[in-house]
């Protein structure tokens, strides 16, 4: 009798906890990544990070390169995140760089998963005043900014002074070469 009572008592907490977890504390259902998908994701991350592994002409990385996934994107670009996510955003590599003169710029490379998605976000974000870079139709240069798309990548760079602004095309072309 005691043993039976013991078994019943012991079963209550796990049942209660299990019920709580089942009824609301579990993560939202997600598609389980297959081994191959995981491997592809890791390769894509490695390719994204490798863009910054060797020095770029015109500017060097000040600190580290931060990677953001879909959830983390809100912590970096806040309410701009959904328009990327709707276009199948995969990952962002963001870093602050400095020119040899000490002028700062920010470089954000969005891995959109495919060239179609990269073009889609480029088109969506292209403002009416944007000027296409001569000889490079996939790039636009605004005052203090330079934006382009190549393959699966969409890149946005922002300068914080005239010297950094002057370095943007140089850094952009070097990145484009690496993205091939």
């Amino acid at each position: 009798m005691r043993i039976l009572l013991l078994v019943v008592l012991s079963l209550i907490p796990p049942t209660l906890i299990g019920s709580l977890v089942w009824n609301g504390r579990r993560a939202l259902p997600t598609e389980h990544a297959t081994g191959q998908a995981r491997s592809t994701g890791q390769e894509a991350d490695a390719a994204l990070k490798s863009l910054f592994e060797t020095p770029l002409p015109g500017a060097k990385i000040k600190e580290k390169v931060a990677l953001y996934d879909e959830k983390g994107l809100f912590d970096y670009i806040d309410g701009a995140a959904p328009i990327f996510i709707e276009r199948h955003f995969r990952k962002l590599a963001a870093t602050e760089m400095a020119t040899p003169e000490g002028s700062d710029l920010v470089c954000d490379v969005y891995d959109m998963g495919s060239s179609e998605n990269a073009l889609a976000i480029f088109t969506a974000e292209k403002s009416a005043n944007a000027k296409v870079v001569e000889g490079w139709p996939e790039a636009i240069a605004g005052s203090m900014s330079f934006v382009f798309h190549t393959g699966r990548y969409y890149t946005k760079m922002t300068a914080f002074d005239a010297k950094a602004e002057a370095a943007l095309p140089l850094v952009a072309r070097a990145l484009k070469e690496k993205m091939k």
């Binding site: 005691r2 008592l9 907490p13 809100f74 403002s127 203090m144 922002t158 914080f160």
Partner: protein, 348 residues
Amino acid sequence: MSDRDPPPTKDVVLEARVRAGSAKSEKAPEEMDRRALLRVGMTTAIAGGAVALGLTLRSRDGHEKNRVLPKLKDHRIGKIQGAVEMAIARGSDPAQNVRRAVEAMGGMGRFVQRGERVVIKPNIGWNRLPEQAANTNPDVVAEVVRLVAAAGASKIWVTDASVNTAEQCFARSGIEKAAKAAGATVVRPDATAFREVDVSGKLLRVADVLFPFVEADRVINVPVVKQHGLSGATMAMKNWYGMLGGQRVKLHQNIHLSIVDLASMIKPTLTIMDATRILLANGPTGGSLSDVKMMNTIAVSSDEVALDAFGAGLLGLSPSDLGFIVEGAKAGLGTPDWKNLKTEELGG
């Protein structure tokens, strides 16, 4: 014991008792096992029950239920019959625009009393320069600090929960330097700067709020006018996202209702809207000066819905285009018909 046995002596009785004791002690391991098992079982049950109870007492957002938490105060002041309800100043000097608009509203002394503690909430969300118009203009923030100081405030905080790295945002925006020079205490959103507060919202019941919002007597909202990818625009009501820690993803689901929910939680004393430069595209982050337009305008009111409706017009939008203005009006937070308010417009 048989009939032939002699009657037991005292020693025999004692020996029998000892033997009986030994026999009993031979059974003890089995008894102890059962007791130990029972004890372990009970302990597990109690511990498990406590964990389950703990989980039950915590709400889904990870905050403890049934705990008495501080609430945000109502920071508004009473209405004065016949007073100006909205003031708009235009001109090339942002600080002068602030002074003229606040003066038209009756002066800062109408809103801040001597000895009160005041928190000023600009937008310091972004690692951007003032020219890029992603943050509130630092000259505007500094002038608000000076006016509040002149009204006799005993403490002036300037704070915001930045989206990008706070250190970069506070420095690059120019706000930290300008606010400190004007006499404010600048509070960066590090881990120690937040307090758990009962905000009693519809979507958010408990939130981690920057401490000056809990401690201040008066709250002054100083937003910038920007296009926003998700909500259409970010101005006065949306600026309250920067009061909170760690809720970004959650609060961007059902964005318009989230904005109204947040705006209902905090009842600011005054809103001074910065439209010196406005960001017309690629908001809220911005970056390109091509997306920025000089408006040289400051608008002041206690009605955030009216100010957002006015700001929508600057962005080329109708108030009805923006769900949070429609919902904010429905929730009784203010009126989108700002032209029906008693308004004073001051030219440049």
